[in-house]
Symmetry: C2
Subunit: 459 residues, 2 copies
């Protein structure tokens, strides 16, 4: 694949010629297509192939190239494609993937498909996969890869160098800026920067030039711990050890950053009501409808609950029909104010400047903002109501209802993620619906109760 | 700072003792506090200091340690702290930062403060800063750093090694997995993996063992291009050249991942209505109110516009007051459906599987989903309306209005980000308000027009 600044080609023609090559079953044409396409264009064309075409393409290509294609695909498509392939072909491709990428894919396969592929792989690879897939998403082990170089502590620099030379091809993609030094029981005893190797006498032992007692992280440590370590030290990689201090893998700074991208994406997705993992429009319609409806049908229930406050005060509304115009405005605006507060708390939780026990501080900060913004917005909407109907009392009712409800919304919005986090629930997922239900309900009750109190001045 | 699995200390006492050390003006106590705190606790405590305390702390510490503290702070606090410090002190700290981090900070300083700091720095550093700050946020140059090792093409391996040895301290934090080879005009001619150095004869020249014609990226290339290159090649770093192919910097894979985290965070923040950059509750109340209100007051205008559709159909609403209960439900549910579609398009744009010209495909995919979800949700809400009032026509009006408006919402939601992207506007920022205004307006018009058509069956 040529660099992306190659002269642009017409992508529609491109996809057509790729499909042609796939249908003709020509491995050479498929490979040629992939080599001439920029990876931008390749991603776009590959993602829009049909499932059958994608699988056909993967089985035509060499396992190495198929693995590269798999890396370009969105995760969910890569999983689907592997499931479609015959197990022996899928196994050949899986073998070419990096250990962490491989484990992530296997983890998401149907159990049956995963086992079928595992039976085709050699024992060492299977053991590697089983270990990596045994970690939870929020454990350091789930981020690590197992392609690293470790040497026994009695190795000489000369032996190390000849091993590097011998395995040059195998280690081609390894990050060997650091190699690791282990004792006879495979316990980590040192880290050996390649720089030290370069500068060492060839007869020295690795033990002489290594950095002893290196900083490491246990495989069951949390992602937050890993992130903190990388924030604290300018390391490119961090060795991962098990509870017996045996070296089991390496986490690179880039892996942590990628995990952060995934978390940030999930935050956005869940706030927008996309649940059950990412959705691509290439997924089956039934899956897309079902997932989106799961969220919407819960939401409609909460909406009906909130709107029942209107039904209860129907008499007031009937007497002052103009209020009906302001109900959706108050509901929407309070939701917006509350969502801003949710976003700020989510951000502060992520970067670690706020913790659940800081609730009081958040309340004070949001409360003071809520008073100011509430008065400003309430004045605005009150003015509109007054100008429209010429009724000062109507303006006062609508305005003070929005002011009060804005204050409630920002306080609730600021606190909800803290509460959810404290009770180990996912704040990105649940904050939105809880917030809007509460603020809708309060908003409707406040405006209609206020109105019923001063009904004689409104009619 | 000890690893995060050190025994937990009481953070409140912690912050108090830090403040005590700052107020006593004791550099040693401040340093001791930072050394014993985990970076988690340090971030939390530092972020909640007052502005004056933070600046006092930074001027007490050695420039090296102050630079580390600056790295732990959220960007906006780091900027504020630098602005508070006397220029000579700030300059000493700035000098200790990595080139890319330094440029990012200087870029965000007030012009006056930035110039004051620059006059305190040596010429080479100033030139470096001016170059890095000259790039736009979406240019490759804005991601690169200038700490790298480049050697003239006639250098011998022996000379290279002794230079590494000589500069060991200076290059301590450099990523020297790759060094770069340049000709007399500083044009990039090769990349030299440290692995090749290790295995080379010491009398060889770097030209003999380097990888010639390496893949590079120009400093004005777009972030998407850089991302595509890293996706295509398993590089840890990529040399950056200017239009004359002179080597000007290096981008590491981690830098790209960090830029992606920032973009994903911005997407979430903007979708939630936090504009003008990130908000922290430690910012002045006036700034927080003003920024949030800027968004809210635009939104309230759009809300009033949408609600005016209710005002126009007030007679219908007066005749069938039960409809007032359903207006906010229809408005909110359509907004939710539309936001789901926005999120899917945003995601597909980000990973490159959808482009603005794929609008028709998006329309077909969302349209078919919209019909199914619309019917399902419409049926639900229609049933509720029927059960509540025993009026089948009311159920039909409310249900079909929600069904139709769901269809409209998902189509509009799916397309808006594509349109905004095509016209170079920020899809994350503007999609939400445009969507909800349109769907509110359509929802209100549809339900009230339908109702007015069958008014005799509703009353």
């Amino acid at each position: 694949m040529s660099p992306p600044d190659a002269p642009p080609t017409e992508p529609v023609a491109d996809r057509a010629s790729l499909i042609e090559a796939i249908e003709a079953g020509s491995a050479a044409d498929c490979q040629a297509w992939l080599e001439q396409a920029s990876s931008d264009d390749a991603i776009h064309a590959l993602a829009q192939l049909g499932d059958a075409e994608r699988s056909a393409l993967l089985s035509l290509l060499s396992p190495e190239l198929a693995a590269e294609v798999l890396d370009l695909l969105p995760r969910s498509q890569a999983v689907d494609a592997l499931e479609e392939l015959d197990a022996p072909i899928a196994a050949n491709i899986v073998e070419e993937l990096w250990s962490d990428e491989r484990a992530d894919l296997i983890r998401e396969l149907d159990a049956e498909d995963a086992e079928a592929i595992l039976t085709e792989l050699d024992e060492a690879t299977v053991a590697d996969i089983r270990k990596l897939t045994s970690y939870d998403d929020d454990e350091a082990g789930s981020l690590m890869h197992t392609e690293y170089l470790a040497f026994a502590d009695h190795t000489s620099i000369r032996e190390l160098l000849s091993e590097l030379e011998r395995g040059a091809e195998e280690y081609a993609g390894y990050n060997i800026q650091y190699t690791y030094v282990v004792d006879a029981a495979n316990r980590l005893v040192g880290v050996l920067p390649l720089r030290n190797v370069v500068l060492a006498r060839r007869t020295a032992s690795v033990r002489d030039v290594m950095i002893a007692d290196p900083i490491d992280v246990t495989d069951r440590a949390s992602l937050d711990d890993v992130r903190a370590l990388f924030k604290e030290h300018p390391f490119l990689g961090l060795p991962v050890v098990d509870t017996d201090r045996r070296l089991v893998g390496v986490i690179e700074a880039g892996d942590v950053a990628r995990a952060e991208v995934e978390q940030a994406d999930a935050r956005y997705r869940q706030a927008q009501g996309i649940i059950g993992g990412e959705e691509l429009r290439s997924m089956p319609l039934a899956v897309r409808c079902r997932r989106r409806l799961a969220w919407l049908s819960m939401n409609i229930g909460l909406n009906i609950l909130a709107a029942s406050a209107i039904a209860i005060h129907q008499d007031t509304l009937e007497a002052v029909i103009a209020l009906a115009v302001f109900l959706p405005i108050i509901s929407d605006m309070s939701g917006c104010s509350g969502n801003q507060a949710v976003a700020v708390t989510m951000r502060e939780l992520t970067i670690g400047v706020t913790r659940p026990r800081d609730a009081l501080r958040v309340l004070v900060k949001e409360g003071s903002l809520g008073v100011i913004n509430g008065v400003a917005l309430g004045f605005l909407i009150g003015l509109v109501a007054y100008l429209w109907k010429g009724n000062l009392v109507l303006g006062a009712v609508v305005g003070s209802a929005l002011a009060l409800n804005t204050l409630i919304a920002v306080c609730v919005g600021g606190l909800i993620p803290l509460l959810l986090k404290r009770f180990k629930a996912d704040p990105a997922l649940a904050s939105g619906p809880i917030l809007t239900t509460l603020t809708d309900l309060c908003g409707f009750v406040i405006v209609l109760s206020l109105a019923s109190m001063v009904l004689q001045h409104l009619t």
